[in-house]
């Protein structure tokens, strides 16, 4: 249970993770607030399913003590590379920002339960904000060669800071940018726009990440359209596998622990 709705742990297996020392291929600015880091890993690029994440951090004695969870933004199995996107917000991401080509990273992944698009689904709606968008771009990668129509509502402070526009367009998605700068990101405005657009022909699945208010909206729209709604959740964590128990999603029921974001998520079913 979160303020945005009830979370259900999804069934299904996970791909087997690996831990590797990998080299940085690219580490550059992506927008005014975010950077893109590309690393080389044949195994992770091949195994990563949509919506999965990695734990990663620089190697070395002065490196941060904990790795950071990062959504897999894109993966290219042919080139054997994985991209992640991060904002420089604290100690760990500052250290990441200082890495240059050839520097070594410790990476564990792919991790967690990702997004599953059900059989027979024809229309999928993605609703994301900020860096949360990066948890959903791999879904569009997977759906690009299929006939599934993807519509993505991408929210950010201004047009330049909205992540994922290019990747999603390249994957054939219909992209709607909404921003704080022009007021179009207000939840009521987004709701009205989506209701107008989809009420006659709604998506069968809604995926969301990056904003509690948009998550609540996605849950509402999911109920309105009877669409299966999934949310990718962020949390502080140390291990990414489940044994540190750092990332419980909520405070439990008094007797048992709440689900763990890393092991049971990061993608959960979402209900009102």
């Amino acid at each position: 249970m979160t303020a945005a709705g009830v979370l259900d742990v999804l069934a299904g297996d996970r791909s087997r993770p690996r831990c590797e020392q990998v080299s940085v291929v690219v580490n550059r600015e992506l927008s005014d607030r975010y950077r893109l880091l590309r690393f080389r890993s044949a195994a992770i690029s091949e195994r990563a399913r949509a919506g999965q994440f990695v734990m990663l951090g620089p190697l070395g004695r002065s490196a941060p003590v904990l790795p950071r969870p990062m959504a897999i933004y894109t993966r290219d199995a042919d080139a054997g590379v994985v991209d992640i996107v991060y904002g420089v917000v604290g100690y760990g991401t500052r250290a990441l920002a200082e890495m240059t080509e050839g520097d070594l990273l410790a990476v564990t992944g792919p991790l967690g339960r990702g997004f599953v698009i059900e059989e027979g689904v024809e229309r999928v709606l993605l609703v994301g904000r900020g860096v949360g968008i990066c948890a959903m771009t791999t879904v569009a990668q997977d759906l690009a060669p299929t006939s599934v129509q993807v519509t993505a509502v991408l929210s950010g402070r201004n047009r330049e800071s909205v992540l994922g526009q290019d990747v999603l367009r390249d994957c054939g998605a219909d992209v709607l940018n909404v921003t704080d700068a022009n007021g179009s990101s207000a939840v009521d405005a987004v709701r009205e726009r989506l209701v107008r657009r989809f009420d006659d022909d709604p998506p069968q699945q809604i995926l969301t990440s990056g904003s509690e208010r948009l998550t609540r909206l996605a849950a509402d729209l999911g109920a309105r359209w009877n669409a299966r709604t999934l949310v990718s959740v962020e949390a502080h964590m140390a291990c990414g596998l489940g044994y540190c128990h750092g990332c419980a999603v909520g405070n439990g029921d008094g007797a048992t622990e709440a689900p763990l974001v890393c092991r049971d998520g990061p993608v959960f079913g979402l209900r009102v």
Partner: protein, 301 residues
């Protein structure tokens, strides 16, 4: 390496709470000297409020609060997945009263395990703010009861009592402990000035990682001089050199905790480096390093 009847193929094992069977997918955990479970309580418990983890310079703070599914679920689920990992299993046990500790031992019964480690020191638990080993009579009562009920070696994991370590280690020895583990994470807190709130949902937590290594080394050295039973060193270990330092200070074996989070394969890599390290340090066997610390002295020329 021997901790009573517990024979270790090498001195490296994980610290409780910093390891899980999940790691078997990533790294050869059967090479470890032993594996140590997360602390098992008699009853199911949810753990602490979130946020449970934050990083500080040189370390991490946790207030996970030891969620547990209870002893019988643990026992009947293949020791929570620890059975069959190919390394001796040390079961960490906890309780909020002496009876609860003893109930865990009774319920574990004859299930396959190599030793128990009595967690008398987790600073996270809402136990009037105190831990069991700040009251040595209470600790002796619990530990002697565990020793009486268990047929296995009993390790006692002590909290980082900066002034009472020698007495705490002696009390554990007198209560029949096979070995003492020195030490658990250090009570600490992190404050966010912007929000004027604690970083952790529990307010305070335990500090671990590289920054506690010098503190833990001193406590291991203190404990090793105070008792005749083996000391298992724990605190900020992340390399083979760190292992050597703890052995030289008096530890017979070591536990690796926080380092595994950043590098899940750190323990097998350390174990692989131990033979070369032993040779470099001029020892025949790694065990020859134990307790060989001398206090530096230089004469003025």
């Amino acid at each position: 390496m021997e901790l009573g009847d517990l024979e270790l193929a090498n001195p490296v094992m994980p610290a409780s709470g910093c390891f899980g069977p999940e790691l078997a997918e990533l790294t050869p955990v059967d090479t470890l000297g032993a594996v140590v479970t997360k602390t098992v309580f008699a009853q199911s418990r949810p753990g602490n409020r979130t946020h449970r983890i934050t990083e500080v310079p040189g370390g991490m703070l946790n207030s996970v609060g030891i969620p547990s599914r209870g002893t019988t679920v643990f026992r009947d689920s293949g020791l929570g997945g620890y059975a069959g990992l190919g390394a001796p299993v040390v079961i960490s046990i906890g309780g909020l009263s002496a009876q609860e500790y003893w109930q865990v031992v009774d319920e574990l019964g004859a299930c396959e395990h190599a030793a128990v480690e009595v967690n008398v020191s987790c600073p996270n638990l809402e136990h009037g703010g105190a831990t069991l080993d700040t009251d040595l009579d209470a600790m002796t009562h619990v530990v002697s009861g565990v020793v009486a009920r268990s047929t296995k070696p009993v390790l006692v994991k002590l909290s980082p009592q900066l002034h009472g370590m020698a007495a705490a280690a002696r009390a554990a020895q007198d209560a029949g402990a096979t070995a003492v583990t020195v030490c658990n994470s250090f009570p600490a807190m992190a404050v966010n000035a912007n929000s004027r709130a604690s970083e952790l949902g529990n307010g305070t937590g335990g500090l671990s990682g590289p920054s506690v290594k010098p503190l833990a080394l001193r406590l291991v050295w203190t404990a090793a001089q105070a008792v005749d039973i083996p000391v298992v060193g724990c605190g900020g270990i992340g390399s083979a050199d760190d292992v050597a330092e703890f052995l030289i200070a008096g530890a017979t074996a070591v536990q690796v905790g926080t380092a595994t989070f950043a590098q899940p394969d750190v323990m097998p890599r350390i174990i692989g480096e131990l033979p070369a390290l032993t040779e470099r340090l001029g020892a025949e066997r790694i065990a020859d390093l134990i307790g060989t610390l001398t206090i530096r002295s230089e004469d003025w020329q």
